[in-house]
């Protein structure tokens, strides 16, 4: 059983950052990077399956990103897995979820994967679509926002729980091969020690281009995306009325406000 786990290096910004010249994104100088929190859970799921079923399972982390994105692969490989894949090309800049999914789908085919596990969404854009776009391109069975999974190798169908609104869950069976997007809380991601990360550098990371999978430049990047950024801007933020003073004074004011509201309600 081969499990492909796309993981994303997401960008985080600070309050005082600047928009780049073309107005479409934050200036690279102000971006810090980290692994997408959801991907820790999908990778942990893959690790658990690998540990349960041993040699029958191969798990491979995949990322679409430039050189720095190797960090997220190393973070994964520090915990387990034998090799990673990174796909990058300048043409991939400004790709949306769909364009990225194009690449992931090709890799999944190339790797003969049985399952693709993604995170439900990524913390920078929260599109929540990349995983399912992959399913659409591969035409595989799929389930999004998965909170519980029961996979055995060679199973024709698996059982998963979807986490719905208002705390309800739905138990469904899904045919394999399948694409699942994994929700937070499904497991407890383990710690990747610095030593583990250093040792992971010895594991091979294959770096490819989308072209190696037969994708043209027109199918990726901004051109291949299903939406284009016209403008990115910092919104006018309303600010709360700050209650100042000592803790005792602040608490007193809160109490006053609450009593007013209660009295009026």
């Amino acid at each position: 059983m081969k499990i492909l786990v796309p993981v994303k290096q997401v960008a985080i910004i600070d309050e005082d950052c600047e928009i780049r010249d073309d107005g479409k994104n934050v200036d690279v100088d102000f971006l810090d990077y980290e692994i997408n929190e959801w991907d820790n859970y999908s990778w942990e799921l893959a690790l658990n399956l690998q540990e349960t079923y041993g040699e029958d399972v191969e798990i491979v982390p995949l990322t679409v990103g430039p050189d720095e994105a190797d960090d997220v692969l190393l973070n994964c490989l520090a915990k387990g897995g034998e090799r990673g894949i990174r796909v990058w090309d300048d043409a991939l800049v400004d790709s949306d979820s769909f364009a990225i999914a194009q690449v992931i789908a090709k890799v999944a085919e190339h790797e003969n994967a049985d399952y693709v596990l993604t995170g439900t969404l990524s913390s920078d854009y929260s599109f929540a679509a990349t995983g399912m776009c992959v399913a659409g391109l591969l035409n595989w069975a799929h389930a999004a926002v998965v909170s519980k999974v029961d996979i055995t190798p060679d199973a024709q169908q698996i059982t998963v729980n979807r986490e719905l609104e208002a705390g309800i869950e739905e138990e469904i069976t899904v045919e394999s091969p399948a694409v699942l997007s994994i929700q937070l809380g499904i497991n407890e991601p383990r710690y990747a020690s610095l030593r583990g990360i250093k040792q992971a550098k010895a594991k091979p990371i294959e770096v490819m281009s989308h072209k190696d999978f037969g994708l043209t430049d027109a199918e990726v990047g901004e051109i291949g995306s299903l939406s284009k950024v016209r403008k990115m801007y910092a919104p006018e933020l309303s600010q709360a009325e700050l209650i100042e003073g000592t803790v005792a004074e602040q608490a007193k004011r809160i109490a006053e406000i609450v009593k007013e509201l209660k009295g009026g309600a």
């Binding site: 729980n161 705390g167 939406s227 801007y233 209660k262």
Partner: protein
Amino acid sequence: MNKIMVIAEHRLGELTAATFEVIAAAVGLKRTKGFSVNVAVLASNPAEFSAKLNIAGVDEIIEIQIQENQFQTDTYEAIINSLLDEYEPSVVLTSNSIDAWSCMPIIAAKRQCGFATDVFALNYDGDDLIATRAAYGEKMHVDLEFPGKETVLITLRGNTYKPIEQEASVPVSSFSAPSVNARTTHKRFIEPETTSDVDIAQAELLLSIGRGIENEDNIEQFEELADTMGFTLGCSRPIADNGWLPKSRQVGQSGKIVVACNTYLAFGISGSVQHMAGMKHVPNIIAVNTDAEASIFTIAKYGVVADMFEIADELINHFE
């Protein structure tokens, strides 16, 4: 005719509140007489739901009968695909729901039409549809456009549009569903364990705790405070994930939308998008957090930059 198609959503026999918000958004998008709003409802007995969709501004209710009432992704994908082939709408709207996350990207990927999720503002700039959504966890806004896309699929952020009250008599048509190869099968729904009898969605006064609580043992203090103040205790996701409070107490997108709440007192909650989705509509939000930059202060009415434990210690004295 520019058709704006709305995919109605329902669960456990009820149309979702979000459906009505989406309809309102759709109606609001009709800029000229050349637009129509067509609402599609997929159900085992669609007529039951059509009755509730007689809303002013809606031009057509399309009933599609399917075998099972609950959402099945391949079914929705196949049917919506056929609807799009038939109707060729310029915009397809649904809410940013978990079900939509399952089926809409599939449709978008296969048709390669325009696509954006979690949109909270839709406008036309001339003939161009501009969808506004957030980025970098609410710190930035992005205006998206879809040049060259005949159809654009949009999922709308909840709690953003006010449903339309006015009723109207809307013509109903039916659409036959194509055959579907369903690759997932529903087994059952699992309701959350309600260890408490409280439904926080019904509460008017909520006192909610977040990551700032640090430690399960500190919850007791806030339980007591809530009790003394006459507030219902709620929490953000990390608290429920840790099992420190039952899931039924979680406020947010995957928890409860606290529709009845009038006053929300947030302690140690920074304000993630998902959490705010559950409570940002509340008119009186008082947020207490040591971080002056916390997102919750952007939606709160009153902000207190202080240690939540110190405030709680003092606050309880005013309510004995």
